[in-house]
């Protein structure tokens, strides 16, 4: 059986910050999310201490705008997605106190629409991903009371389809990534009774292909990132025992770059930080030995969540 190349993955993630090739340059606009993926993966692999938290926090603060929101990098416009990534990274380093929680909460609550949905930024695009982002971020900051929780829940419920899944807006096609966002947000809001667990569990289990990997929608190929989106949703609704976990574990392990580290979307493809994080996250959900446990709704290590909510130091 293939084993998990922990040390190589750690070195791979650490090497990313120094890259300056063209591919990296055109990804600069989402560096905040890239940092969250990489740093959370490192923490799950017990290697966050190798990183300079002070320096990273200083950079994060430079990405914050007067409105309270964060950009994906210095000089980039604020967006709710990067605002969550910024807060998540600060939570990893136990540095949530360096930001003004009320200011961030004001930015996020300002993005809620009359129908309960959330816009991603001032330009008004609506997506259930932004609802998840708002809910998760405000929960970490203990400011959920700054939004209309009831309306936010109603909007999520309106995005539910006949197959039990959820899409990005009411009526949009079910998609495993959007399902994670909706189920994760409902879990944080304590509103999982709106989910038909058997029906949604059925749809999610049908994402597992015979070879063991998970796809994100019907008729698609398996991809490592859905190890996260699908499995975390199944765990939240308590239906993970309906799939073959062993086969899924083997699929993820087969997507490792055995020589240089990193995990790709499918076997023999090029690795990247996004799939490395979701591969490591998926293995953590599968309770793979040597990895920290990850919280399926917050997508942060369980000890970080415990520290945020119960003040417990690990």
């Amino acid at each position: 059986m293939t084993t998990f190349q922990l040390e190589k993955h750690v070195n791979y993630v650490k090497s990313l910050d120094k890259k300056s090739d063209f591919d990296s340059v055109v990804m600069e606009h989402l560096r905040m999310s890239g940092a969250y993926w990489g740093l959370t993966a490192l923490d799950l692999m017990h290697s966050l201490n190798d990183m300079d938290g002070e320096e990273i926090a200083a950079w994060i603060l430079k990405c914050q705008h007067d409105c309270g929101g964060f950009g994906g990098n210095i000089g980039h416009d604020p967006h709710i997605l990067y605002t969550l990534s910024a807060v998540q990274i600060l939570a990893l380093f136990d540095k949530l106190s360096v930001v003004d929680a009320d200011k961030i909460a004001k930015y996020i609550s300002g993005l809620q629409r009359e129908d309960g949905s959330f816009a991603g930024d001032e330009w008004g695009e609506i997506d259930t991903r932004f609802t998840y982002t708002a809910v998760s971020c405000l929960s970490l900051l203990k400011r959920l009371d700054s939004i209309n929780v009831e309306k936010a829940t109603d909007f999520l419920v309106r995005c539910r389809n006949f197959d039990g899944g959820f899409g990005c807006t009411p009526g949009a096609e079910s998609h495993a990534g959007q399902i994670f966002c909706c189920v994760g947000a409902l879990a944080i809001l304590g509103a999982l009774h709106h989910v038909d667990r058997d029906l949604l569990g059925w749809w999610l289990c049908e994402r597992q292909v015979k070879a063991g990997g998970l796809n994100g929608r019907p008729e698609k190929l398996p991809d490592v990132c859905y190890s996260w989106w699908v499995l975390s949703s199944l765990i939240i609704i308590d239906r993970a025992h309906w799939i073959s976990k062993e086969k899924l574990r083997d699929f993820i392990l087969n997507c490792q770059d055995q020589d240089r580290g990193g995990i790709s979307d499918a076997p023999d493809d090029a690795v990247d930080v996004f799939h490395t994080f979701f591969g490591v996250g998926g293995l953590s959900l599968l309770e793979y030995p040597g990895l920290k446990s990850i919280d399926p709704a917050y997508a942060l290590p369980v000890d970080v969540i415990d520290r945020v909510f119960y003040g417990q130091k690990s």
Partner: protein, 530 residues
């Protein structure tokens, strides 16, 4: 600063200016490709015939439309490869190419742009992979600098304090711009920012900050609608190269909302929505199951008139039957069907803006009947969709998208439509369980569906292909779907699946484990509720 870095900076600035020149010369450019330098050379040597070759898939009609034209089936293998931004001719080649010599060859006839970096003709634009990095770097620097300048000017204007504007004027005099007024400077900066942001989004489709700057500036320039039409065209150019770009699809929606807010006439809006829908279809041809593209198409439905929705349903039928594995298209049909059902609720048809008069309304209804199902009943609409889906299922074995569509059709018929269409035929017992008393009169019942499953299973009984294996799995799971949805508590407000009656459990369990043993845990969980 001297050396290679300085050379690169200068080169970037030249490329940025060349790009402006190319768009000035041909504002109707509708397709973009990143190419290997050798491909660029062959484009230049082939002249106009080049547009039928990679990286281009579309031929622009002489009378240019909003969309990028129809796709050429012969180019399909390449087009699929081009679905990802990292195509084989794309940006991932750059690392290996940096040592190639770059000469500044200028076009001798026509527009004097750098032939080692660009090719343009027939409303297409090709950019050499080696030119992308210097072009992007220069565009980014210029954009960052000008954004900051622009912000300063706007702030000075906002505060309207004479001190601030005096300081600014003094600042400008100091830089030798004594004759330029703040307004002129602002307008020049706006022009520059439109140019820099265009270069940025062409190279990096998801550069939201660049798209946002355009959203800030466009309302100032959109006095005539052409500016917004041109913006849709630019977004189309980006999508031709990056069909999955979320920011670009979102930008299109923003532009269309601007048009609506500016009071675009309904007729014109209908045409825009129609051409948007065709654009998504053209993109879907090259890049199958593109969630962000189909999401855009679904959004269009929310803006469409009743008649347009009906026409869309009619039109997508052929495309869907040629793309039976494209779940997105079948989901789109579900969106259209539900929208039509919603429209049939009394009051909604009447409130539609399009049907301003009774005469218009009648005309709409007539168009609908002709275009759609030759009859005004939901029943006919549903029956046609069910029959068509079953026909496709028997013709194309093992297509998950088709079986899911059938699940939808059964589910909605049972739970939402049947009762409103034929209430007399549904008899309820005191517990609220609907009995199968109407099988003779309805075209989709628990009996009819179980029969259909049996027919499908026996049709492929001796077929050992993977497609037939899948067909058996989907047929068996559809039977479970029918059983679990058929016996549902009709009075229940929020719907839950209910396990089949005990006497049916053993036979369905055996069937499922026979046809899809790899999902035995799922079947056990669903049947026993654990």
């Amino acid at each position: 600063m001297d050396g290679p870095e300085e050379d690169n900076t200068t080169r970037g600035r030249v490329l940025l200016a060349d790009l402006d020149l190319i768009f000035l010369n041909d504002p109707l450019i509708d397709e973009l490709g990143f190419v290997h330098p050798s491909q660029l050379l062959s484009l230049h040597s082939d002249g106009a015939a080049a547009t039928s070759k990679p990286p281009f898939v579309g031929r622009t009609p002489k009378s240019s439309s909003l969309t990028s034209g129809s796709s050429n089936p012969e180019d399909e293998p390449y087009a699929h490869a081009d679905c990802s931004r990292k195509s084989e001719h794309g940006v991932d080649l750059i690392e290996n190419l940096e040592d190639l010599p770059i000469d500044e060859g200028l076009v001798q006839n026509g527009v004097p742009y750098d032939r080692m970096a660009f090719w343009s003709g027939e409303h297409k634009l090709a950019i050499s992979a080696v030119a992308l990095a210097p072009l992007y770097k220069s565009a980014k620097e210029a954009f960052t600098f000008s954004s900051a300048e622009y912000k300063k000017l706007c702030q000075a204007e906002e505060t309207a304090s004479s001190a601030a504007s005096q300081a600014l004027e003094a600042d400008m005099k100091h830089h030798g711009n004594g004759t330029v007024s703040p307004n002129q400077k602002k307008s020049a900066l706006e022009d520059s920012l439109m140019s820099y942001s265009r270069a940025l989004v062409l190279v990096n489709c998801d550069h939201a900050t660049a798209w946002n700057m355009r959203k800030r500036l466009l309302p100032k320039r959109a006095a005539d609608g052409d500016v917004l039409v041109a913006e849709l065209r630019l977004a189309g150019v980006v999508l031709s190269c990056a069909p999955k770009s979320e920011e670009t699809w979102a930008h299109r929606r923003w532009v269309i909302c601007q048009m609506i807010n500016n009071g675009v006439p309904r007729m014109k809006l209908d045409l825009i929505l129609e051409s948007e829908s065709k654009l998504v279809e053209a993109v879907a041809e090259r890049c199958p199951m593109n969630y962000r593209g189909w999401r855009h198409r679904g959004w269009l439905v929310t803006q469409m008139s009743f008649v347009q929705v009906a026409i869309e349903l009619y039109r997508t039928k052929l495309w869907a039957s040629l793309h039976v594995a494209d779940n997105c298209c079948f989901h789109y049909r579900r969106t259209l069907l539900l929208q039509l059902l919603k429209s049939q609720v009394p009051g909604i048809v009447e409130s539609r803006e399009l049907a301003a008069t009774a005469e218009e309304k009648e005309l709409n209804m007539r168009v609908l009947k002709v275009a759609l199902f030759d009859g005004s009943e939901t029943r006919a609409l549903w029956k046609e969709e069910v029959d068509w889906t079953k026909h496709l299922i028997t013709r194309y074995l093992g297509r998950e998208a088709l079986w899911l569509h059938l699940r939808f059709l059964f589910y909605y018929w049972r739970l939402h439509i049947r009762r409103t269409v034929s209430p007399a035929r549904a008899k309820e017992d005191p517990d609220g369980v609907q009995h199968e008393c109407d099988s003779k009169h309805t075209f989709i019942s628990m009996d009819s569906e179980q029969q259909f499953v049996s027919i499908c299973l026996s049709a492929c009984a001796s077929n050992l292909t993977e497609d037939a294996n899948k067909q058996r799995e989907f047929a068996a799971s559809y039977k479970l779907w029918v059983l679990m949805n058929g016996f549902q508590q009709q009075k229940q407000e929020s719907r839950r699946l209910s396990a089949p009656p005990v006497d049916k459990r053993d036979s369905i369990r055996m069937l499922l484990n026979d046809m899809a043993p790899h999902r035995s845990k799922l079947w056990e969980g669903l049947l026993t509720g654990s």
